[in-house]
Symmetry: C2
Subunit: 489 residues, 2 copies
């Protein structure tokens, strides 16, 4: 029965039971209480230390849970044969050189995920004058940073406590309402706020839809050429992407029916096909909706770049045409506000809301609250609509500037056609030209472009480059085209 | 050959081809160009309008892509028989009343996801004096809101442009470095910054690990009782959670081996078992690591509440003991900073980094940049360590206050024992008491508790309530316990 000399100091204000536990632990580690020693009874130690028996009981309980003691409370408690620190020290040395070189045992799905090619990263630290021609980046030079900073500051000052409290998985309620209003008026989406889920951008929307609506092995149509991360979201969910060709009317529904009529989903960009730019034609929209209604398949409408239509006003969404609740609608604030904000939305048919909410909870709970609140303020105070209108004019002008420069300098090197919407153009290389070499030569001239092949799955065809113009100030465009022409020549 | 009267206005500054397209579109919609009408040749219209033929070609191309025109550029272009707006209007009416009541065709996985029970939501708008006893919420009353607001403001002012630019999937580099430093010194984690991935909290870490390391149908051990969303993350990935019992030494590895020795993963909380509070014992740690090394399985170490240890200093992590690179380590800032921030980290063995990075890219790209940068500032300027130290003292005192009040008022109603770490205690109900009724009676007295059954999978056992004390100011604790006692009596 060991009753070690323990010194407690009531003046520190630390809880007594913590002091008792700490003193015992030190005695064990210093060897004053040897391994295997039976400890004094809790009653005896309590008397010795002049503390309540509960205090000692609690201290013993803590050390039992940490592995310093073994046995049972009240019926004989012993110092453990192997105490944690000793064990840790003993194991630390060999562990310093972990086994390397052995291939990691990824799952089949993990290996497929790792094999999805990534688009070139668009990091921060882009040197000034070197924005050309990064795809997917909005005009940072026209971003209302003062205004955004004021909203951020005001929101934090007014309600930091709410900003630090969790919200439901489906999002910060005022943002859901603002998005529902916006989609109804600007995009012809028919929804109530309860159908809106705030997500971390379109990519998460695709990932959640694949989890909720597909099982491993299920087939899903994707556009080819198309947005390769859409295919990646399917792969991450264990589903099988089916590359369906696109033409000037968007996804070729007939071809999809020939390839895999039993597909459970189609991921499409009807407003502005990524990357070719076609709007899905009315007859294709009808055919796609009819297929989904007939077969019980789902359509994931990626309403890509729909706000940025320069001609004829925005095209109404596919969701607005859907009488059978087969369309999941998604869009993002990455293109109009910023991709660093990581906010977008999903609009799902009411019977699916609960399942999507559960999937979001299990994916990562919810989007950060402060970011959601500031974006809600940005929208409800009218800044968002104004910003979209300004960006429409600005981007149309930047597209014109790119086309003008291309007409002067890229003839025979890269063939560009205007597109009625979006933030990039496709520059087609001469037949037989080496796309990879063109991308590298452009990069060495300080011009960043994405090869068309990065958007292709099974499709073969002419090589081309995607040129993002939205983020490039007009005065930089001509100069960058000159550098590009020199590099390609 | 229709050559409608089109009026262009060069003074608006809008691109000419946009004006041409817009004018044609208006003429079509107004019926001035009837469906089926053959349009004038591009050359003729260009002469009529005194614009270049390219301008007209581009306008025609846009309207073809939008479905207003059909045919081919240059070889006969016609007004479409069904123009988009008409089609939309025609289909809108029936679509207003979508079919309801029909069960949605979720995938099997989707149905399983929807069936995962959610923990009670902890929303904003909690009335003052009603924090007791919400599980998982930190002490908002002790959050350094002024300081955080200053960091937010300074970061935006200094580098808003970088804050609005995307970062790599693995996170904002200064935050990865800060986390790696912190984990090496405070948690005994052996890693370089390249192994650290910033994620949206522990839930996303689990979700990514399940996607990368498991295939549909693979078995994975989870603790029972345990954190039910861990099970949910497995289900969302199509994997099969295996409930393994826990005791005072943490997960019972022997039991796991009996149940499913072929499991490919174990998700454990070795620092502080959730919800029972045991630290995994040294021999169990050894056994778990040996199993993983032998069978090539993975251990996901959820380093839950490890910073908030009130006795004997933090326990070193399991990752630090692992000589075979089988441990994936994850932790969160939700408990120490705020769950609304949605930031945590993953530390993965080097051979897995690329696959996790790819999975994150496909899940939702990356975490918001501004939030990451402010947290990095908070850590590197020393505020985080100070805050953890303050919270340790505060939470230890709050736990004591809860235990004191319970000793006075809950005898025979709810049996509480101290825990050496964390933010909640387990209150055990008398044998045979109705747990659901207790939760409801507590709620009607304004006290929010989680039933132990919400943490159980297969395990049966005594009913209990989880009482989160971290978020409750000391002066509220006694008063809330009085209300709880009255409700349970």
């Amino acid at each position: 029965m060991a009753a070690p000399t323990l010194v407690l100091d009531a003046s520190t204000g630390a809880p007594l039971q913590g002091q008792v536990a700490e003193a015992l632990r030190s005695a064990i580690l210093a060897g004053r209480l040897a391994p295997g020693t039976r400890l004094a009874s809790t009653r005896a130690l309590a008397e010795q230390l002049d503390v309540s028996r509960n205090t000692v009981l609690n201290a013993y309980a803590r050390l039992l849970s940490e592995g310093y003691l073994v046995g049972h409370l009240g019926s004989g408690t012993y110092v453990a044969r192997e105490v944690p620190e000793k064990l840790l020290a003993a194991r630390r040395a060999p562990a310093r050189a972990p086994a390397r070189g052995a291939p990691p045992a990824l799952s089949k799905r993990g290996a497929a995920i790792a094999a999805v090619p990534s688009l070139p990263a668009t990091g921060p630290d882009i040197p000034p004058g070197r924005m050309a021609f990064r795809v997917g980046l909005p005009a940072l030079d026209a971003f209302p940073s003062e205004l955004w900073g004021r909203l951020l500051h005001a929101r934090w000052r007014r309600s930091w406590r709410d900003m630090m409290s969790p919200v439901p998985a489906e999002g910060y309620p005022p943002l859901r309402r603002a998005v529902a209003d916006y989609l109804a008026t600007a995009r012809g989406v028919r929804c109530v706020p309860e159908q809106v889920l705030i997500v971390n951008g379109t990519q998460q929307a695709m990932s959640l839809a694949a989890q909720v609506l597909l099982d491993a092995g299920d087939a899903a149509w994707v556009e080819d050429p198309g947005y390769s991360p859409a295919r990646g979201a399917l792969i991450a969910a264990g589903a099988t992407p089916i590359a369906v060709p696109v033409d000037g009317e968007g996804l070729d529904v007939e071809a999809g029916l020939r390839l895999r009529p039993d597909a459970r989903m189609a991921i499409v960009t009807p407003s502005h096909q990524l990357p070719l730019g076609a709007a899905m034609s009315p007859r294709r929209r009808k055919a796609l909706l009819a297929w989904a209604a007939r077969s019980g398949a789902w359509i994931l409408e990626d309403d890509y770049d729909s706000e940025l239509r320069y001609v004829g006003g925005p095209l109404p969404s596919l969701q607005g045409l859907d009488g059978d609740a087969r369309v999941i609608h998604t869009g993002t604030f990455s293109k109009v506000v910023s991709p660093a904000l990581r906010l977008g939305y999903l609009v799902v048919p009411e019977p699916l809301v609960e399942a999507f909410r559960a999937a979001r909870r299990l994916a990562d709970r919810h989007s950060p609250v402060l970011d959601q609140a500031v974006l809600a303020d940005f929208i409800t105070q009218g800044h968002f609509s104004r910003h979209v209108r300004r960006m429409r004019v600005l981007y149309a002008a930047r597209q014109e500037a790119l086309l003008d420069a291309a007409r002067r300098e890229l003839r025979g090197l890269l063939e560009l056609s205007p597109l009625p919407a979006g933030m990039h153009l496709v520059g087609w290389l001469p037949e037989g030209a080496d796309e990879g070499a063109a991308v590298e030569r452009a990069a060495s001239a300080g011009v960043v472009v994405i090869p068309m092949s990065s958007a292709r799955l099974d499709s073969r065809g002419r090589g081309g480059l995607l040129l993002g113009y939205a983020c490039v100030p007009e005065e930089e465009i001509a100069e960058a085209v000159t550098r590009l022409a020199r590099a390609l020549r």
